[in-house]
């Protein structure tokens, strides 16, 4: 056995196969408006937006150790910004989405300075307080409909695209684009130096600090970037819904509870987890939705059982069984092909 026979690599055959499969799936998804029905298209659009939210929450909680139960603050903020920017500033909806993200980043800075003073679980509840403050504040703005909310004017909706079919296709592509953008950015970020620092902090905050990693700054950057992207997703969500109200925009159930369950069930702290979790969540929802509140009860029970019995989620279980990873973050030692020998 010779050391030259081995090499350190991030890639493997499984990853190459997955990359090719992933590419094929992506092409098929881009073409979906030409083969899928209207209802399916809407469902898939919603799925992609949840995937994006889940990936972002996972980046915060699973990698940066920032467990937030108040991401609805930025979902709602983004949604309201879309409405305000298009209705009052006359912006076209698409640049308005980008601007909503920018404003989300801006507002997250003072928020971070405040709530980063809270540790651990208290940080979590602190984020919830912020979301409540956002909700109550937007409910006070009468030009946006106050507590009862408002609808996006028809003229603005029409400015997106002439026909309803074209609008729905566009809105689908935006959602797909957002999901691809978010998952790719999270992946690229985690492979970068900053991402490595983040993983180091997660594994051992004390040791990471003593190695000269600025923990506060790293977490701060993650928080601001996540907030900006979450606000953009929020804008997209309410561009699909065309109607906004404080209760819907800042719902802890819709934008945080479901997202957390997706990540926990799929596997926290992995890139693949949110993807699997989203698929499981939508499968559960589509089969159990008729049961109403029972469905939510089941979801809560599933999340608790997964957390207690399989804390690494579905993906963690698969990875442990088959030593598999699709988005290669870890290096592995592989035997070289001995073709030359």
């Amino acid at each position: 056995m010779n050391i030259q026979d081995y090499t350190v690599t991030r890639t493997s055959n499984a990853i190459r196969v997955a990359a090719i499969l992933g590419f094929i799936v992506l092409v098929a998804l881009i073409a979906a408006p030409y083969w899928a029905g209207r209802a399916d298209l809407r469902l898939m659009g919603e799925l992609f937006l949840y995937l994006a939210l889940a990936s972002l929450w996972n980046l915060m909680a699973g990698y940066a150790g920032l467990v937030s139960v108040g991401q609805q603050a930025f979902v709602g903020f983004g949604g309201y910004m879309l409405f305000a920017l298009t209705m009052f500033a006359g912006l076209h909806p698409i640049p308005a989405i980008g601007t909503a993200g920018l404003l989300g980043a801006l507002i997250s800075v003072p928020v971070a300075f405040l709530i980063f003073r809270l540790r651990g679980a208290y940080f979590a509840i602190g984020t919830w307080v912020i979301a409540e403050v956002f909700r109550l504040s937007f409910a006070q703005i009468s030009s946006l409909g106050g507590g009862s909310g408002s609808s996006l004017p028809i003229a603005i909706v029409k400015s997106l695209a002439g026909s309803r079919g074209a609008r729905e296709s566009l809105s689908y592509w935006l959602a797909l684009g957002a999901a691809v953008l978010v998952v790719t950015s999270v992946y690229v970020f985690l492979r970068s130096r900053k991402g490595l620092a983040l993983t180091a902090i997660r594994d051992n905050e004390l040791a990471a600090g003593s190695l000269g990693i600025d923990i506060w700054r790293t977490k701060f950057v993650v928080y601001v970037v996540t907030s900006a992207l979450t606000a953009m997703i929020g804008a997209l969500i309410f561009l699909q819904k065309l109607r906004i109200s404080p209760d819907a925009a800042f719902s802890v159930n819709d934008w945080t509870a479901f997202v957390i369950f997706i990540v926990v069930i799929g596997g926290i702290g992995t890139i693949e987890g949110p993807i699997i979790g989203t698929l499981v969540f939508f499968a559960l929802r589509e089969t159990l939705a008729d049961l109403g509140t029972i469905y939510l009860l089941v979801l809560g029970v599933v999340a608790i059982v997964v957390m207690l019995k399989f804390p690494k989620g579905v993906w963690g279980f698969i990875r442990q069984r088959f030593d598999l990873q699709i988005f290669p973050l870890a290096y592995r030692v592989a035997r070289r092909d001995n073709k030359g020998a």
């Binding site: 467990v67 979590a124 509840i125 409540e132 957390m307 804390p311």
Partner: protein
């Protein structure tokens, strides 16, 4: 006189918030657990009150003699059966499991009792008032405030003067060594949760007499309790009472300016204190 009235009413309201907070504070003090389902457990207490009073015709305050032990049992079972498994150095499991519990409680109550607002019927207690120095004070808010004083005083006494409190402090200091002293931390944690839910039951009943409630209001109660704890300073029960009072006063003054501002004013007071005194007003001095 109006402003003075707002301040006095806010102080009395603070007693209720301190009751929301006391259980949260106790649990955190003993096992560093932050229970996201705390607010929903308060609401559960109120619904248990509703069931008992409608089934037996008991006055809600008398029903406490049944509901406090019942909630205590629920707390002990919850801790031994579920929450003990989440305790460790990792923050996520307790947070996510109690979050799941919150969703289960909310939807379970919704399934059993529907979303219709309910109220506990306490007869004349609800409207009775006394006049003190020209201010008209509701008997119920005054009673709530004194119950809060008694509960916090009782918890303080239990914590510092009884063998149980000694065991709580020992386990909180060092779980391994406490275990060597013959203390089974799983049992001690169960007792702490039982006690916390006993207090929660009192808070739930008083809440249910004061205002109408439905299954969705738990999150808000958790936040009020949490804000009272942080304003007062972690690990200080009397500080928690002051925190509740500050929150109550901020809300009543906010409501006086504009009814829509009541909750917002409370949150803003909390954020301002977080900005200027991140460790709260009376942090426990640590060595």
């Amino acid at each position: 006189m109006d402003w003075l009235n707002a301040i006095v009413q806010g102080t009395l309201l603070g007693g209720l918030y301190a009751l929301f907070a006391a259980g949260l504070s106790l649990i955190f003090g003993v096992m560093r657990l932050v229970n996201i389902a705390h607010g929903d457990l308060i609401v559960l207490g109120a619904y248990l009150g509703l069931t008992v009073t409608t089934a037996t015709g008991l006055h809600p305050l008398l029903a406490l003699f049944l509901i406090v032990p019942a909630m205590g049992l629920i707390g002990y079972a919850l801790q031994r059966g579920m929450l003990n498994q989440t305790l460790g150095s990792d923050l996520l499991p307790p947070l996510l499991v109690t979050f799941g519990l919150s969703v289960i409680l909310q939807n379970g109550l919704l399934e059993l009792y529907t979303a219709d607002p309910q109220k506990l019927d306490a007869g004349s207690l609800e409207t009775a008032s006394v006049t003190v120095g020209g201010l008209s004070l509701g008997v119920l808010p005054v009673l709530t405030f004194f119950v809060a004083l008694a509960v916090i005083g009782g918890l303080q006494w239990m914590f510092y003067k009884t063998p149980l409190g000694r065991a709580f402090r020992a386990v909180s200091d060092n779980q391994d060594i406490a275990q060597l002293m013959g203390l089974n931390r799983r049992h001690i944690f169960g007792l702490a949760m039982a006690l916390a839910l006993g207090v929660t039951a009192i808070a739930g009943i008083l809440l249910g007499i004061r205002t109408s409630f439905d299954p969705s209001i738990g999150g808000g109660r958790l936040i009020f309790g949490f804000e009272a704890v942080i304003i007062g300073g972690l690990g200080n029960l009397w500080g928690t009472l002051v925190g509740g009072i500050i929150l109550g006063i901020a809300q009543t003054i906010g409501a006086k300016i504009d009814p829509g501002w009541q909750l917002l004013a409370g949150h803003i007071a909390f954020l301002v204190i977080l900005a200027v005194r991140p460790n709260g007003l009376f942090p426990r001095t640590t060595e």
